[in-house]
Amino acid sequence: MKKQTVDSRPAGPKPWYDPRIRSLFFQFVAIALVFWGGWTLVDNTLSNMESRGISTGFGFLNETAGFGIIMSLVPYDATMTYGRTFFVGLMNTLLVSAMGIVAATIIGFIIGVARLSSNWLVAKLALVYIEVIRNIPLLLQIFFWYFAVLGSLPSPRQSVEVGGSFFLNNRGLYLPEPITQDGFGLVWGALIVAIVAVVGLRTWAKRRQLATGQIFPTFKVGFAILVILPVLAYLTAGAPLEWDLPALKGFNFGGGITIIPELAALWIALSLYTASFIAEIVRSGILSVSKGQTEAAKALGLPNGLTLRLVVIPQAMRVIIPPLTSQYLNLAKNSSLATAIGYPDLVAVFMGTTLNQTGQAVEVVAITMAVYLTISLTISLFMNIYNRAVAIKER
């Protein structure tokens, strides 16, 4: 800094007319008020809880839960603790959110592109889809997919069956579960080798293109490597994989992988609903790339596919990412509607049953809210990182 402090700078006014001091003062007042408000709330809550004899603290997390949960990604039974139920609920929330995000993105992009199709019928159909789905409350759609569709599925004994290994009934969708035997490690190894090979291939192809201008069909060859290597490994290891087929045992099917109707209904409803928003985002993202860009690309002689891949999509993505992020956040939050149809997500299991068995509402709700806050911040963080990466590439 090259300023001397000796000379005559603007003179200091009286403190209460100095905006800096004023600003400090008001900020101090604001923070004092927030603390006072917060303290009043906490104080009220504590004294209310004390006077009503409600126990406090997080000790309850170590007590035995004693209730069953239909679906759990981690081992769980009724003898485990409330802390475990939290974990089970959290995993289920994350599962349905992740599944929903993937499906909604795929459907949303397809519908968004279809909306711009030159085929009149397809474009109109996409429009109808968007306008119908996004103007109906999500909760209603969840109810519909659950109660209305569930009622029309057959009972386990009359299951819809495909090839003796896939079953569909009102208890869910049953799929065969792969069970790896000794020697399957070889297949995993082959897969890793294949991935490394493809990455190497891509680098090589790019370098070669830069040097000689020849374009190598990286995608096709890479895909072939990814498939062929693991299959070869699988065969040489003597097909070390068995399938656990679902079969009717007593009331229900046992074995295999089950997708329970609650998960399916929630997943379908969340995906379709969010997809209708994503479709609009994708459409406006593509439209936001000015026609001049496409014309310029065409004038340079790029074919349609390359124009799309090299010019339109990179630019559209910049417009698409921020609103897409908030749709992902919405989806994660909306997954809490699970509680309405009995899918054991965090809100249903932890803020529902656990809260009710322990009665410790404040602690349970605080933990639940903290989880959602964390999920939100994490998604924003990743999307920001991605957004930055895309933005840098553009400049």
């Binding site: 800094m1 000379d7 005559s8 700078r9 603007p10 003179a11 200091g12 100095d18 800096r20």
Partner: protein
């Protein structure tokens, strides 16, 4: 970063207040004394000194990026300076909000992009500040505004919205709006540079008329014809410094500094 640093040194190290009423050169309505300004680490205004008498008309010119707009905006504190003094109408511009408010009441400003309020009619634009700042009764304010609109020759547009006017008309409204506060000083920040050529004249006519009425004016402009007719002094700025300061005929016919000469060559050549 640099900015906040200076702010702090300044706030903490502030010494004796400068008496605002002490006037050794009482005829000067604007006094700028060794004023410096930085944007972060970038030194935009370097040790400026200027004294403007009541009724004086000054044109400031210079290449783009020379700091002339920043300078003029410092005079009604749209920009903050960090060193030196600016004294307007015997009031020093300090951090004191009362002083800033008073100065802004006395100084009218016309912007390059007009900055009319698009949601208000022309008349409302003009009356806004008299009503809300000067606390003039509405009717009085409207009458005064109509007078000024007549002076800038667009009384018939009073009830239109700015968006419905041409650029030249808008700029004249902006001048009328500034005049409605009955300012002692008018600042013009490149008032014609966003206009189509055929509209420049109508705005300049208004400004010349205004100059004739004895208003103190500081005008950043490239209109050398205007400078020649109206200005008492022309100031040439470059690189954040005042390079040359001279009456117009001297300035245009016999510039002293090589930078001025080069600038004039470029601007007058085509």
């Amino acid at each position: 970063m640099g900015n906040t640093m200076t702010d702090q040194t300044q706030a903490t190290g502030s010494t004796g207040p400068v008496p605002s009423q002490k006037d050794d050169s009482s005829s000067a309505i604007i006094r700028v004394e060794s004023m410096n300004k930085w944007y972060g680490d970038f030194h935009v205004l370097k040790d400026l000194n200027l004294s403007v008498r009541q009724g004086e008309r000054i044109v400031i010119c210079g290449p783009s990026g020379s700091g002339k707009s920043t300078f003029i905006r410092c005079i009604n504190r749209l920009e903050e300076h960090q060193q030196g003094k600016i004294i307007v109408d015997n009031i020093e511009l300090t951090d004191d909000i009362r002083h800033i408010d008073t100065v802004r009441r006395e100084v009218g400003m016309v912007f390059q992009h007009f900055n009319l309020f698009p949601h208000l009619t022309v008349l409302e634009n003009c009356c806004l500040s008299p009503i809300w700042v000067r606390k003039t009764p509405r009717k009085e304010a409207e009458e005064a505004a109509m007078e000024y609109l007549e002076r800038v020759k667009i009384p018939d547009q009073a009830n239109k919205f700015p968006g419905q006017l041409s650029g030249g008309q808008q700029q004249r409204v902006a001048i009328a709006r500034a005049l409605c506060m009955k300012p002692k000083i008018m600042l013009f920040d490149e008032p014609t540079s966003a206009l189509d050529p055929e509209m420049i004249k109508e705005v300049l006519d208004v400004m010349i008329e205004l100059a004739g009425s004895g208003m103190t004016m500081l005008c950043v402009t490239h209109e050398m014809g205007f400078a020649k007719t109206v200005a008492d002094r022309v100031i040439f700025m470059d690189g954040g410094e005042i390079v040359e300061e001279a009456p117009p005929h001297e300035f245009f016919t016999n510039p002293q500094e090589p930078r001025t000469q080069k600038f004039l060559e470029q601007i007058l050549d085509h």
